[in-house]
Symmetry: C2
Amino acid sequence: MPMNSDIISNPKSDRVRRLASLTSSRGRRKSGCFLIEGPQSVREAIAYRPDLVSDLYVRSAGPDDLRPASKTLAAIMDQALELGEGSNLYVHMVTDQVMDKISTDSQGIVAVGDAAGIMAFVDDVDLGSAAGQESHQPQADLLEPSRNPAGGTEDTLAGPSVAAFWQVRDPGNAGTVIRAADAAGCRAVVFVDDCVDPLNPKVIRSTAGSLFHLPLLTMTTEDFLSWSSAQGLVTTAADVYGTAGKRPLSLTDLLYSGPGDGQQVPRALLFGNEARGLPQEVLDQVQDIVSIPIYGRAESLNLAASAAVMLFSLAMSSHIERM
Amino acid sequence: MPMNSDIISNPKSDRVRRLASLTSSRGRRKSGCFLIEGPQSVREAIAYRPDLVSDLYVRSAGPDDLRPASKTLAAIMDQALELGEGSNLYVHMVTDQVMDKISTDSQGIVAVGDAAGIMAFVDDVDLGSAAGQESHQPQADLLEPSRNPAGGTEDTLAGPSVAAFWQVRDPGNAGTVIRAADAAGCRAVVFVDDCVDPLNPKVIRSTAGSLFHLPLLTMTTEDFLSWSSAQGLVTTAADVYGTAGKRPLSLTDLLYSGPGDGQQVPRALLFGNEARGLPQEVLDQVQDIVSIPIYGRAESLNLAASAAVMLFSLAMSSHIERM
């Protein structure tokens, strides 16, 4: 891990200006990089995707003091040091003013990630083969048990394997649902159709590190439907109303009814836009439609709560059966 | 429903200034009123707590046109009209400029609520009697089945009867958890210790009307613990770590294990602060500690997702048993 022996102290330098520009989508497009802010995100990025991280900027203890400003920051620098010689990670110490200029949400530390790298990871899915004509290699890789670190139950797919979000637009929601999908043990997250940029800093912060834990793919609606079915996933829409032909199943029926209670098939669960839900033409093309029962007077749950309830209910019921 | 035949058009009038001040806690304290913003919240307030609403401000179609500016607004005015003679609700038409001055989140309509009224509703709980010395009347009222409009299963308490939040500080979180508790069929929400003001406009907006659907109480930690046990509720903390003496139960154990699967006892579920969770001394005093299993690499879920998962899992499992 190479380290600069000078403290970066000029908040008006080109480098600092360039770093600050990464909070805008224009700046990210121009540079091909994205910003990872705060101890938690930086820690998870270094732990799970060190290949993506090129530079680490750490607040120094003082304008002439090369030590990091806190123990938390020092621990993350140690973690970066342990990557050893093979790593391309470069560490820079910066003054308070420089850090404040780079990001108002840094809590003393930011890292620069390779957007092409994470986007290749996200998009490296051969949909031609997913449609069944050729090898399933890329998808098989993606859903391989090794991606899931939970103990004991790694050998087969179970529960909601994939969490998909159609036109999710709010950055906070987008991050929160990625975090919930990670916690529920999903193998991948898919952003379907026109969603918020997953490299928006607010999305990354809201994932609390989960962006670096599981593959995030972006696809058109059509590609998602064929990919999901080629993967052997039951494409399942979360919706309150269903369609003329298909009344929604209640989530409780899926969890508790009849023989095979809790024996969940691998599903790709698709959630709609925050305000408008899923359009009719998408509902017409999924295999199942499931709704969350409402026991009180509220009309519905918001997107993040719906996703958490559905992903966890299915995950818990399928893990239970296999204990 | 009396109605003013003039359109309020002066954005600098005392009345408009006073209304705008209700977005601050100082303004609410001074006037004893709070602001209900947007069609959804206003609609639910008129439907469920008309006793609280004194004035309705509606955007007019034009500076000299007394009709409401949209069909949505007209429908809410009709709803207010149906309250009839007995109601104290007064309707005012206002210009665009006046509405923008009152609130940037009005979507054309705001109502003024009586803070003393809703706070009395919230606080009208005799803790002396809850401790067991006297009649349980106020609490019994509070948890009466008639408060819960869901069909079929109203006759007994079941599932997580009460959702309680200790030192919830973020307005968006506070509103979201009230909405989730409502949807899960909880009989009441309790804000324990030093929480955000539930009449903060962002809290109200985030509840999506649920603030008017179920009783919201505020209590000290000590009062909550004794009230909850006097109500016959099993006080249950949501926590990942537990205490030295009590390892947390997994939520899956509560839902699925052993005889009595899904036969939920009535619980008061207590959730901790967004950043710090629950302190040791509170954990020491609850009857059960329950944690949500994490199947992926995420460390945890955020507060709103945790609350939604736990409240719904318990609600669904107890409703299933009684079908």
